[in-house]
Subunit: 398 residues, 2 copies
């Protein structure tokens, strides 16, 4: 599997810089041999980490050639020194690789409110550049990890008018729940040729249905970042429209890869014992369907019931009631996988509950809610709220 | 203490009707000897339990004379049979006491989605009426309990132009977190004479700063109800304006009583080990201050850090960032009680953190957040998110 984690014209590598202890990869670099079209989607939080602010600025021209990432410290809530550190880190990489400053993007994940020392990056710069190789992406995936238990990678191939193109993605996120870790990072590289503005639009759409459709506790981090670099090395005719045949194929492939990575994050959620798809149908709009699914998926009561394998549909109805959407409690249907538990707002009794409980004993299941007020639907992916969530996040410092 | 739980012209009592097992008070009655001015504040959930819908209808004329309450089953998500049950219960009390139907309000708390049998109420009607006595309010407080560990009562007196008036309040709510219990009920009775429209306005304002300013996990129940009956037996000149001297005194007294009851609920929160006041200052509006405080108070990450006695201010900043309010991360100050931990968005270092940690070791403390963008402030009261919260709410049915 690992030997496949390559894309034409990209190199990657990682080093142990000592930010997360002595013996862990914690600084990594992704490098495109040529300038690449680049797109980014960032946290919606009003409190954005320094690297997020820098990348937003640097991506205005839709071009990038390298991404440097560190784990251990998020460089968030660090004021001017933090911004200078991000800028300085970018410059070190640019100087090392002989690139313009604004072609080097920066990402950080880890503890909020601590400062990083630029010396850490200047010291590790030569070995980091030396570590670059075609098959270095699995090292990058490991270097990005904070409380993740597994590295998260995905890879897709598709033919565009006879040319095989590859998309490779890395992600980190220990369930979006994060101790004081500033949460989710994903880097995606492809050898496809895609116009930067199309790339940005595609990434925005893919993220909406993948990374933005997962939730563990509704907390949004200061550092959430998805970056996508397309260097055109596959030699396909540049994709200049979402609606072209190639555009649609590429988009499908990107959607699929993003969802794959996003679900890996939920499944690795801290303390998670269940993977749950909340599927809301029959809403008056996509936005209301999403809002309803999100409210159910973020309800501590609902999530704790799932941990307890308790088919407690009253909590689901209660969450729908406060979701701020158009809901007629006397029409709602609720199923767990194929087992209908509630029809027209009324429970179907102990026999159905017994069946529903057996669905909940599975590691993964779907809650299907039909509001029967319209035609729109949405899915949100989440995990349960377990004793280990509290244990991990209470983070006893003694 | 208990002998004081009386108000002129009111009687109360409770019986064991078998809804919550054989040996627990579970149906209770409050009765005013004369028709009283009445006000109510109800859940904002779109999914309202049958008794809530009935009371909203019955309170249109601003009058009531009795309240019947049961615990064990919430009569929520019960469709037409549920509404007929609520109506039938009201009628049974009206017939028993010789009142017009619409003078009898109904409240229920307990499991969502189960039907109640009217026979339970008809069977207990004669003993319930016989149980009525001046000092029966402590029995009512006990009969309302679900997973509450203590009954919740409060009492205030104030002189209005030489006349002593009394306000007595009862509440239940095991932390607003509720297994499948449909959450919070409070009944308040007073012998003051207050015009119904003034009473309603006062109650709305008091509830905003008390019952609506507490949160455990952001879940809003289908049954939340606060009812206030004023029978005028104290003989004071009827309060016809909020801005009169008597109006202000009464309002102050009511505010104080409501906050007392609300805080009793938070402190009895399921699994709660800490009582936390989230105080946001310097916001551009009261609404934004409230929203910021509420987002911090509902963050699972923040609440779990408090359980772990971890002065993790990064989580507080992250919550502010996603609160949808006007926030400049470089200006925020954060203190735990008197210990400043963050100034202008930057942490004040390990010495301050040590002091802040000792604040967090207390049973009760305040988190004070100064946004420094305006003059408005708000307080929200909450508890921590503990291992016992999960244990209680996972509700293993085996």
């Amino acid at each position: 599997m690992e030997e496949k984690l390559q894309v034409a014209g990209f190199q990657a590598g990682a080093v142990k810089a000592g930010i997360r202890g002595k013996d862990r990869l914690d600084v990594a670099l992704i490098y495109s041999e040529v300038p690449a079209a680049a797109a980014g989607v960032f946290t919606t939080s009003k409190v954005k980490a320094a690297p997020v602010l820098l990348d937003m600025e640097y991506l205005r021209d839709g071009k990038a050639q390298a991404i440097i990432v560190n784990s251990g410290i998020a460089n968030a809530c660090t004021g001017k020194p933090g911004m200078e550190l991000a800028l300085g880190t970018s410059r070190l990489v640019a100087a090392q690789l002989g690139l313009a400053d604004d072609l080097v993007l920066v990402a950080s994940t880890g503890v909020i409110g601590q400062q990083l020392d630029l010396a850490i990056f200047s010291n590790c710069m030569p070995p980091l550049a030396e570590s670059l190789r075609k098959d270095g992406f699995s090292d990058v995936a490991r270097a990005m990890m904070t409380t993740d238990t597994v590295p998260k990678t995905a890879r897709r191939e598709v033919e565009l008018a006879g040319r095989k193109i590859t998309i490779l993605g890395l992600a980190k996120g220990s369930g979006m729940i994060m101790p004081n870790m500033a949460t989710m990072l994903s880097f995606i590289v492809t050898d496809a040729a895609v116009h930067a503005s199309v790339l940005q639009e595609m990434l925005g759409q893919s993220v909406a249905q993948s990374f933005n459709a997962i939730t563990v506790d509704g907390d949004t981090s200061t550092n959430d970042t998805v970056l996508l670099l397309a260097n055109g090395k596959a030699g396909n005719a540049e994709i200049c429209s979402l609606d072209s045949a190639d555009g649609r194929l590429f988009r499908q492939c990107l959607d699929d890869l993003c969802l794959d990575l996003a679900l890996q994050i939920v499944k690795d959620g801290e303390g998670a014992t269940k993977f749950i798809t909340v599927h809301v149908k029959g809403a008056v709009s996509r936005q209301e369907a999403d809002q309803a699914a999100r409210t159910v998926a973020n309800s501590s009561l609902v999530k704790t019931a799932f941990f307890g394998e308790d088919a407690n549909w009253g909590r689901i109805i209660a969450a729908l009631g406060r979701a701020g959407i158009d809901v007629d409690p006397d029409r709602v249907d609720i199923s767990f996988d194929e087992v209908m538990m509630v029809r027209d707002g009324l429970g179907l009794g102990p026999e159905q509950e017994k069946l529903a409980t057996s669905v909940l004993k599975q590691k993964a299941f779907a809650v299907v809610i039909d509001l029967k007020t319209g035609q729109s639907e949405a899915k949100v992916y989440t995990c349960d709220l377990s004793l280990d969530y509290i244990r991990i996040n209470a983070d006893y410092r003694s």
